[in-house]
Amino acid sequence: MSQPLADITPSEMMTVTAARALGNGTTCFVGIGLPSEAANLARLTHAPEAVLIYESGTLQTRPDVLPLSIGDGELCETALTTVSVPEMFRYWLQGGHVDVGFLGTAQIDRYANLNTTLVGDYREPKVRLPGGGGAPEIATNSKEVFVMVKQSRRTFVKDVDFITTVGFGRDGTARDNMHPETARHMGRGPTRVITDLCVMRPDPVDHELVVTALHPGVTRDQVIDATGWDIRFADTLETTAIPTAEEIEVLRSLKVRTERHHAGDTV
């Protein structure tokens, strides 16, 4: 049963759409924040056998509340096992065991390159962001990458100020013509960008992001207004399926549990 549309926020629409993209049994390297919310929603609904991996070393974790940090105790307590961080990046990520890398970002450009480093010039930044963390190698060593981010002109820019994490490079060709050994280990890169307005996928030829589905009630103009380049739309533009009442119910109760949990002590 679908949830009445008026009762669903754009954020919820984004999270449910992202969650649905994750197949049951998929091994997913989960970024903190929005990806963690979507990945756990998937696990709590249609993908109970999704394997969630966090960079803190927790393998196959099943948190009951969303972690605030990438290394909350909850992640370890519910994991199949917890390995060292070097092992996590060497054996599990670089070793080729991750199906989907699930990332958020501060900026994204038309070739799905991600910037989480800074706005402005590197040596004299206007705004210093946290940096790459696990993302640069999650994006290259996972078999494919989902990106999840709220859409606005500030976030969706024609060219990112800094490529922290490669999508398809400055001209869309970064994943072409690699050394065969590198090619064998590199994933396909970003295959979906899921926002609060729509879903984009890279054009199969030139790798520029193309809107392939609009969320229900969202117009092309809304997407155009929220994108910093001349965004393309697919010839057959789909409408994202409306979340079910169960999905919304599970998501909301997850967020309520999480909020209660993290309220914790304050100063």
């Binding site: 990438i70 105790g73 060497r90 210093r128 940096g131 190698e137 490079g169």
Partner: protein, 275 residues
């Protein structure tokens, strides 16, 4: 062989002005008590290494201890920016901060290589990223078997590693459990090491493949109860997520930061400073 020292003495003995110091703990077991003692002893010109600088380095940077930071993700996890780190990078306050920035994968490999006594770490990393353009410590090697070009970065070999762990036995053997991060690597890669622990026990009483660092591989073991708070110690106390959120407001402004540090660190005795 590990010496049992007070926190004051361990920091005074092993952390020199100008030293390269790695304080590790991946969200879990962050050595806050030791960080506060370094601040109290007003160490200067430190090169700090840490994958996730977290509040502990925000505090040390804000208090002027740090000349250079080697890191891979500098935020307040799940909350937002590290405002003291940003103020140092954006406005050179209180002193200019030189940064050398990596990815997590590269830092993790560099700790591993340091523990393994190697001068470099090799990984399939930084492909397509701009990071090598701004960090001249990211180079490459060519595999002599396949011809593949792989990223190479210098291994991490700090003067001092500082970590927090659950417990030590009377020989200074240390048990780390839960999210073990890169702590063992940091200790083994370093010339000297300080391990703060929640308690000393008669026997570690654990399983055959536990993550134990033998006392003979550690310089100093220090009892620091709640020494990781507001981070956490698996089996002892949970992460104080509320404080992590509160820190955002404290650190956003130079004056509120100074006041908080004054009250909670500078004028506290070692055993009071952690919360």
């Amino acid at each position: 062989m590990a010496e049992f020292l007070s926190l004051h003495d361990a920091v005074a003995r092993f952390v020199e002005n100008g030293a390269t110091v790695a304080m590790e703990g991946f969200t879990h077991l962050i050595p806050f008590a030791a960080g506060h003692e370094i601040i109290r002893q007003q160490k200067r010109e430190l090169t700090l290494i840490r994958m996730t600088p977290d509040l502990i380095y925000d505090q040390m940077i804000g208090m002027g201890c740090v000349k250079r930071l080697i890191f891979s993700w500098g935020g307040n996890p799940g909350v937002g920016s590290l405002h003291r780190l940003r103020d140092a990078v954006e406005h050179h306050h209180p002193v200019p901060l030189d940064i050398r920035e990596h990815s997590h994968a590269a830092m993790a490999c560099a700790y591993e290589a340091g523990a393994a006594g190697l001068p470099l770490a090799v990984l399939r990393g930084y492909v397509g990223s701009d990071l090598p353009k701004v960090n001249d410590q990211i180079k490459s090697i060519t595999c002599p078997f396949t011809g593949e070009e792989l990223a190479a970065i210098p291994s991490i070999r700090p003067d001092v590693a500082v970590i927090h762990a659950q417990k030590a036995d009377r020989h200074g053997n240390v048990l780390i459990e839960g999210i073990i991060g890169v702590q063992k690597e940091a200790v083994l890669a370093a010339t000297h090491s300080i391990v703060t622990v929640e308690e000393i026990v008669e026997s570690l009483d654990t399983h055959p493949n536990a993550c134990i660092i033998p006392g003979w591989a550690i310089s100093a073991v220090v009892v620091a109860e709640r020494g990781a708070s507001p981070s956490y110690a698996h089996g002892y106390y949970p992460r104080d997520n509320g404080f992590y959120k509160t820190w955002d407001a404290i650190a956003r402004n130079r004056e509120s930061f100074a006041a908080w540090m004054n009250d909670h660190v500078m004028n506290a005795r070692p055993e009071e400073s952690t919360r």
